[in-house]
Amino acid sequence: MNPIYLFFHKTGSPPWFYKYSGKLIPWLWALFLALTIYGLYLGLFVAPADYQQGESVRIMYLHVPTAWMSMMIYGLMAIMGFIALVWRIRIMEVLVISSAPIGAAFTIIALITGSLWGRPTWGTYWVWDARLTSELVLLFLYFGVIALYNAFDEPRKAARAASLMSIVGAINLPIIYFSVEWWNTLHQGSSMGSDGPGIHPSMLLPLLLMATATKFYYGANLLTRARLCLLKQDHRKRWVQDLLSKESN
């Protein structure tokens, strides 16, 4: 049998997924920690302060990667949700619903760090600029998907509903973003968060390191949550029973 087809077929099997993702998770955490420590060291201690913004620019190393992740995860949820709906692959359903809380967490961090960045730099905790407003709407989209999932009794039906909602939300997300950006140019005077002539390489490296680190965080956390979800759904099945008896011995 075609090895690629075989691989995908195997990952669709819960016990196989459970076992091998379990092996992968520690490595993902290790990479996350390594990249974060190095990235934060560079960002907080080595990289220079910004000419205009001063020290507060160091918040960027947390704010920007988390904002990127908040959007990337929603996009991934839509793609995985599409696969889950069309091909009825249960693992995809599990991955969609496991991603949502992680995406929401990143969004909350992006909002709070953005707010804290704004106060010393531009004088105010909150402003209805394009990015913060879109990020807030994104948070509501996440809450909607999570609430929708929790409202159903049957987990597979709930996951499919959440997948559909993710797709609808993802299609709307660019529209929301551009409409808010356009609305913002009408209302605000000073441009906030202008990047200037381009980012200095000594700042770019820690930024990219943190951005990569967050991807490993997502991977590790996603697989952890997905395994938990599979255990919950399959707790009557044989493979879980075997796992339990193996663990207690």
Partner: protein
């Protein structure tokens, strides 16, 4: 105005949220496994 409290607050809150998001499924899983094992032990005892 010193920027340091803001930077500290930002990273502290970020760390707390990320840590909690990472820990929550681990705690859930442990309690789930405990529950399932208890249930399995009870079923085996009654047989």
């Amino acid at each position: 105005m010193s920027h340091t409290p803001f930077i500290l607050a930002a990273y502290l809150i970020g760390a707390v949220v990320l840590f909690w998001a990472a820990i929550a499924p681990v705690i859930s899983k442990r309690s789930l496994l405990r529950q399932l094992k208890n249930r399995q032990a009870r079923m085996e005892k009654s047989q």
